[in-house]
């Protein structure tokens, strides 16, 4: 009884705080592993079974979707994990018959298939590229943290609808083109929402709701994060055309 109560409190906390959610997932790994194994009808062989990752994210979704009227949390989570895994299996069944790169090249051999194939890309270059990307992203995370923003917050406040995304793009393009706004933004570490709203014609409410997202993208575009900017090929297209 008290166990059931404490778990509900935990879920409530985890709903709001991603760190708490992560903590909870960590604590319930045995449960998640059990549910996954039950679904696969075999014990999990490796720590990093793909299904396990799916089950973990399904558990997180269960935390987000749970409400007290759904009954016991663990039952709800188990159900959600199962349906997520079914979904995944259906999707993956398309690739059945295609051998994974990670599959051992020969029976009883540890070398993955990948290492036996001629690599079309330059592996050295790719490795360096990945390191560079990682460093740039770390720098980016650090810089948005100075604005009091976490990447997980950005993900939570990211526009979902295409229409909202467009509106944010217009506002960002406008902000980027106005040194006055950028100056104020960098100086006060606050987004001058009313100026942007007035100048770009995007509703202030929209901007407020996606403030964290706007900050992150604006920073990505200003402080020389070349790789991130290269990745965002079509974002801020309207702003890019002028140059």
């Amino acid at each position: 009884m008290s166990h059931e109560h404490s778990i509900i409190h935990w879920v409530k906390d985890a709903k709001e705080d991603m760190a708490a959610a992560d903590e909870m997932i960590r604590a319930y790994m045995p449960f998640i592993r059990k549910e996954t194994a039950k679904f696969l009808k075999r014990p999990l062989v490796e720590e990093n079974d793909d299904e396990l990752s799916i089950a973990m994210i399904a558990f997180y979704e269960a935390i987000l979707d749970y409400s007290i009227i759904r009954g016991s949390f663990l039952h709800f989570a188990a159900l959600h994990i199962k349906s997520r895994l079914i979904d995944h299996t259906r999707k993956e069944s398309r690739h059945r018959g295609i051998v994974s790169m990670d599959h051992p090249a020969w029976e009883e051999e540890d070398t993955p298939l990948r290492d036996k194939l001629a690599d079309p890309d330059d592996p050295l270059h790719e490795g360096m590229m990945r390191d560079a990307t990682r460093m740039e992203i770390e720098e980016f995370s650090a810089s948005i943290r100075t604005f009091g923003i976490q990447l997980s917050d950005v993900a939570d406040h990211c526009p979902q609808q295409q229409r909202t995304l467009e509106a944010c793009r217009i506002a960002l393009a406008y902000a980027k083109e106005n040194p006055q706004i950028m100056d104020e933004f960098l100086r006060t570490k606050r987004l001058p929402l009313s100026l942007i709203a007035a100048g770009s014609g995007v509703e202030r409410k929209t901007l407020e709701r996606h403030r964290k997202y706007m900050v992150a993208l604006l920073l990505a575009y200003t402080n020389g994060f070349e790789i991130i900017r290269g990745h965002l090929k079509c974002a801020l297209l309207t702003g890019g055309k002028d140059k």
Binding site: D22, Y60, C158, A216, I228
Partner: protein
């Protein structure tokens, strides 16, 4: 769509897609800076009932409402017992009718009544048909002869409908029997449930009258006298002395106090026998 991994956590990662959206996804052993093509995004799996199911659900709901509505009115009109007709020849039979005047059930009130309806199929038949057929059977079985009496006691909550029933029974049964047998038909409206004494309505020629005399009770004074005699006291106060029915037996219930003791008596109203008595000190 290509995503790059922005941040890794134990259970999830944050990805940036090419449109500039930041998304949470399952951590399938990713590293920061890695490019990902097939992530499992958080919230991408939401159970949405398919449109067909939504429609089906709506249709079901409407159907359920209709069923409740029409089902109820069907029940009201066809299944719920609404009125009763007591057919008394010498065999006595009670018909329970629905609102449409169809016979729902036949009950033999006395032994002859049970004999009369034994093996008779009344389902889906109108009250007049049943009455006619029952009378036919009664003639066949010798319960009813020329010059006999047939009485109907009609008990319908609605006054107008009762009158209709009465005239229908009177006219149609008479028309049915006309020229075959000479029977006197009596129709009585009854507001009370049909627990009447049949012999008080008609006295068939072929049965002796077994009418109970009107019961005479001993009276409250006599009851009190019996109780006091039994207790051997003079009452300070009589709290209760009334006629009451107890499990179908008429009794006098008495409460009285004498010398600080409360007495309770139950005395048979017909015979004056003491059925029950007890006493306890008054607190």
């Amino acid at each position: 769509m290509k995503y790059i991994v922005m941040e890794c956590h134990f259970s999830y990662v944050i990805l940036l897609d090419e449109d500039g959206k930041f998304l949470k996804a399952a951590n399938r052993g990713y590293q920061v800076g890695q490019a990902v093509y097939d992530p499992v995004l958080v919230g991408s799996y939401r159970y949405r009932p398919p449109v067909t199911r939504m429609i089906a659900r709506g249709v079901t709901l409407i159907a359920a409402c209709l069923l409740i509505f029409f089902g109820f009115s069907y029940y009201r009109n066809n299944i719920e017992p609404y009125s009763t007709i007591l057919l008394t020849i010498n065999p006595e039979v009670k018909m329970e009718l629905n609102r449409r005047g169809e016979v729902l059930e036949l009950v033999g009130i006395n032994a002859d009544g049970m004999t009369l309806i034994a093996g008779y199929d009344y389902e889906d038949k109108d009250k007049i048909t049943v009455a006619d057929e029952l009378i036919d059977r009664a003639i066949e079985m010798g319960f009813l002869a020329d010059g006999g009496n047939v009485a109907f006691t009609v008990n319908v909550p609605d006054q107008e409908l009762r009158r209709t029933y009465e005239s229908e029974l009177q006219d149609q049964v008479a028309a049915y029997l006309a020229g075959r047998i000479n029977v006197e038909i009596t129709v009585i409206g009854d507001d009370l449930p049909a627990v009447t004494d049949p012999t008080s309505l008609t006295t068939p020629p072929n049965t002796p009258s077994t009418t109970d005399p009107t019961p005479t009770y001993i009276g409250t004074d006599r009851a009190l006298e019996i109780a006091l005699d039994h207790a051997g006291v003079t009452p300070d106060k009589v709290e209760k002395n009334e006629l009451d029915e107890d499990d179908g037996v008429m009794v006098y219930e008495l409460d009285f106090i004498a010398g600080g003791i409360e007495y309770e008596y139950e005395i048979d109203a017909l015979t004056g026998a003491i059925l029950q008595h007890q006493s306890e000190p008054v607190d």
